[in-house]
């Protein structure tokens, strides 16, 4: 019996040592999963395609994200990502209070259309108090006011072959050796036509501030914060996302984040 106890003790010590060495060394061994384009990572990424398809099948196209009571606005909207674009173009627009700002809808449309900020403000407005969920994990509730994107797309006349909206932005989020990288995002037409998808120019009953995306920020309320592009200037309808950026459909998707962003 004492022999058995010794064995168990040895086993306990041995497995503890083995366990801790696996834990200490273990995670370097899985760093290859961080390599974009590694075949194992590409296989794991298929789970994101499954998530997208499952959520599209499960969630009605018109189902709304929860809207909160005004009492739930307990703080300002936390700015994140770009908070001050520095290109001459944006600086000039900001100086003249976005008077010459134009939002353009182009690409696979019957007619290219542009709207000034005043034109957008004079369109039917929608206000929604929603929860902004950042991919980092935090949430912040704020009131967003703007005009729905769907009717604007209808004014441009989306061609039947169009599958995605690409959202081009003013903010130079990153400097690379080949020049500045501008923020962009994209969505399918379900998200583009969703009733809560608005081109917001107001935040918490004030004019949308620069740190939160002035003059216009798109809201896609059933997705994470990185799917809500700030400093938006052009919406391009396309049938293929590969020609843009690194081909994944957005600045953060190009950096390894899932494109759908609903989870």
């Amino acid at each position: 019996m004492s022999g058995l106890i010794m064995n168990r003790r040895k086993l306990l010590v041995g497995s503890a040592a083995l366990g801790s060495s696996i834990a200490l060394a273990g995670c370097d061994q899985f760093n290859f999963l961080g390599q974009r384009g590694h075949p194992v990572r590409q296989a794991l990424e298929q789970a994101n395609v499954l998530t997208y398809r499952a959520q599209r099948a499960l969630i009605g196209d018109q189902t709304l994200a929860r809207e909160y009571a005004a009492s739930e606005i307990r703080q300002g909207m936390k700015p994140n990502g770009s908070t001050q674009p520095t290109t001459p173009e944006y600086t000039f627009l900001k100086m003249q209070n976005f008077a010459s700002y134009k939002l353009t809808i182009k690409g696979m449309v019957e007619r290219e259309v542009s709207f000034s900020l005043n034109e957008l403000r004079n369109m039917p407005a929608r206000s929604q108090i929603t929860r902004h969920d950042c991919v980092e994990g935090w949430s912040c509730i704020a009131k967003w006011t703007g005009t729905q994107l769907g009717p604007l797309l209808d004014m441009a006349g989306v061609k039947p072959e169009a599958r995605y909206c690409v959202y081009h932005c003013f903010d130079n989020i990153q400097k690379s050796l080949s020049g500045e990288i501008f923020y962009y995002e994209s969505s399918d037409l379900v998200d583009a036509y969703h009733p809560q998808t608005i081109l917001s120019y107001g935040l918490n009953d004030q004019v949308l501030p620069v740190s939160n995306g002035a003059p216009v920020r798109l809201r896609i309320e059933r997705a994470l914060g990185y799917k809500q592009p700030k400093y938006l200037h052009t919406i391009e309808l396309v049938d293929d996302l590969t020609p843009f950026g690194m081909g994944k459909g957005g600045y953060w998707p190009d950096n390894g984040y899932d494109w759908y962003g609903g989870i």
Partner: protein, 302 residues
Amino acid sequence: MSVDSSQEQPAGGEPRPSADASSQTPVARPKGPLVYRQSIWTRLTHWVWVICLFFLLLSGLQIFNAHPALYIGQQSGFEFDNSVLRIGAVNTPQGPRGQTTVFGQTFDTTGVLGMSGTAEAPAYVGFPGAVTIPSYRDLATGRVVHFFFGWLMVAALFVWFLASFINGHLKRDILPRGGDLKELPRDIGDHARLKLHHGRRYSPLQKLSYFAVFFVLFPLIVLTGLTMSPGMDAAWPWLLDLFGGRQTARTIHFGTMVLLVLFFIVHILMVLLAGPINELRSMITGWYRTSPGTPAAEGDKP
């Protein structure tokens, strides 16, 4: 149930293998029959979960590190304080230190939480790179790994529930019944004295543990995980009401992880104490050596 349990173990006066008996005749130690205890579905899903929970834990800590704080409510307080856990680094006259605040109590956790690594190359992260995948800060990869194994874990859960319902594992070994509660005090006493009986079925404590894992912890961690998805919150808004907000759900998700880690530690300790070879064999081949005195049944091996 009490009848079944008493059959598994030698009754009061029966000779249990005592220390002096085995030292006198170590060769002729009596053995119980070899029983087929774990079906292929139990074994398969068990090992799938071993892999899943390993990757889910380590990628989950990576995701947590992107914002190492937990809150109660719908949102995260930046201009008010609704946090229950906060890990970070602070500057002190003695240099930077890692700090963890739990329910308002602040602890110095330098070397483990908030600040780790070597003195020459300190890393200011929530959980140290030794327990995250990847070992460096990479939220995007953490999410890719987490969601893949999340799907796999849920798939295995469906397979297990279906198979265990059909083959009776659920009724026999998991769902506690009145008799189990009556047996519980004695079973706790036996476990406390490390008198572990190897029966055909699970003991009351085992049943309760696995019941808690399958009917409380696993559903809780899956549902709170779904509550963090803005898409799922649109589809199932009751998730937000059930858990009291997305940020509370995130906190419960983390707390359930801690409980599953505790379960894992106890699980491994019990396997080691109960005889790791026999326990491992039963989870690989399905065959389990029972305690002496266990009545043989059809299909057993000697």
